[in-house]
């Protein structure tokens, strides 16, 4: 039985239906067969101090990334993760997390790389659930081990690599990091310590739209009109554009990818997960310092 969409009025104006659920809807639909709630947070201990009843934890760091190669886990490892968490291919997966669903969006994007059909976010995430005084529990559910079919990760549709970025020049790029990272004043997030890119700045021609602009009070997504003001009027995106978003390692830009792809209906949006930690250290690629986007060099194909 497919799980019906949340028909909350707020979501009607977004380009894609069935990608968001409200906290009210979730509270009323917990424990349904075929629905699995997943918590994915930036702070890796939050699930342990209390989570939505029945939710399983997926840790972006240890579950979704390969421990050795800088890449996502293999097809086999993703299957093993789904089996261990008791998630089947036909299940509706509802993801929520801390900090305006920052890491929850990242987990959702990785689920989509592996082709999981029905994945939705809880609008407002963990903070909204807590702010509304809803129930949190500490017990870890024991779900029956599933038998997820071996997926094939698709790296060509939703994901961009550095050569894709070089070939993309002339098309819009969105840099979702903070202004200080964009200008090159720093190579890491404000309030986070120094972290490893050799040069500060941004990819030439990228427009600066810090990711959290898409989130309003309580971490919920802003109404469509406000999102259009930010990304269309503000960053100059036009319907039909082919867009690449990036940040530092691809997590914050997953949030922007979600907004552009599902809420605004851009059909060709990719997340460059190599992001600044790769581009800012690559030999021989152009970068721009300062607040101006700069001009795109010739595309290299």
């Amino acid at each position: 039985m497919p799980i019906e969409f949340d028909t909350n009025k707020k979501f009607e104006e977004y380009a894609t239906q069935g990608v968001l659920v409200s906290t009210e809807w979730l509270a009323a639909n917990l424990n349904r067969d075929g629905l699995v709630v997943v918590e994915s947070d930036e702070d890796v201990l939050l699930y342990e101090i209390g989570h939505i009843p029945g939710a399983v934890k997926i840790d972006w760091h240890t579950d979704l990334n390969d421990p050795i190669t800088r890449d996502y886990v293999s097809n086999e490892a993703f299957k093993a993760l789904m089996d261990a968490k008791g998630i089947s291919a036909e299940d509706t997966v509802i993801i929520y997390g801390d900090k305006s669903n920052w890491w929850a969006s990242y987990a959702l994007w990785v689920f989509k790389l592996f082709g999981h059909n029905d994945v939705r976010l809880v609008d407002g995430g963990r903070d909204k659930w807590i702010a509304e005084g809803r129930e949190l529990v500490k017990d870890v559910p024991s779900r029956e081990i599933s038998d997820y079919p071996l997926p094939t990760r698709d790296d060509s549709t939703l994901r961009a690599f550095r050569d894709d970025v070089l070939a993309h020049f002339g098309n819009p790029l969105i840099d979702v990091r903070s202004t200080e990272e964009y200008t090159g004043e720093r190579t890491h997030m404000p309030a986070y310590p120094e972290e490893g890119a050799l040069r500060g700045g941004h990819i030439p021609s990228a427009a600066s739209v810090p990711w959290a602009k898409a989130a309003g009070e309580n971490g919920v997504f802003k109404p469509r009109q406000e999102l259009e003001e930010i990304y269309l009027d503000g960053a100059g995106l036009k319907k039909g554009d082919n867009v690449i978003a990036y940040c530092r390692i691809g997590e914050r830009s997953s949030h922007t990818w979600f907004v552009l792809n599902y809420l605004l209906g851009f059909e060709n949006v990719r997340n460059y997960d190599g992001s600044w930690t790769e581009w800012g250290s690559l030999v021989g690629v152009p970068i721009v310092k300062g607040i101006e986007p700069g001009t795109a060099p010739m595309a290299r194909r």
Binding site: D43, V44, L45, E48, T62, P67, D98, E195
Partner: protein, 139 residues
């Protein structure tokens, strides 16, 4: 007196599987002592640890050559609270000289880098550096 030495703490963490190290960090987090009223009423006295993503504030007291640490961080920041609590366990109650001699890099040796992002580990080193700076200023 400090309840743990750096070496016993490193050993405690290293003897556990990665997942259990997180549980131990959680235990520390739950045991972070709350702020006494004299600081709770004077947030201006506390220093913010800018290296940490979550808001955490600390204050160091030196009395009779002995170091005392005070922290405050929200319940919704368990990792940061856990780090603060570890530092409390190894430093609070030490004589100044021993507190200043704590290895700046011991946070890298507790084996949490695989479970917690490297950024967070740098946050813990930032906390330690600020504590030692305050100790040096106040001794």
């Amino acid at each position: 007196m400090a309840t743990e030495t750096v070496e016993s703490l490193v050993e405690d963490f290293q003897s556990l599987a990665v997942k259990d190290r997180l549980n131990l960090l959680l235990e520390f987090s739950e045991n972070l002592p709350s702020l006494p009223a004299r600081y709770a009423d004077h947030p201006d006295l506390l220093e913010r640890v800018e290296e940490c993503q979550s808001p955490i504030y600390l204050f160091v007291e030196v009395a009779d050559e002995t170091v005392h640490l005070f922290f405050t961080a929200p319940e919704e920041a368990p990792t940061t609270r856990g780090f603060a609590s570890i530092l409390h366990a190894v430093i609070d109650g030490l004589p100044v000289e021993k507190a200043l001699a704590i290895d700046d890099d011991f946070p890298s040796r507790i084996g949490l880098s695989e479970a917690v992002s490297p950024l967070r580990m740098r946050g813990m080193r930032g906390m330690l550096a600020r504590i030692k700076r305050q100790v040096a200023e106040k001794q």
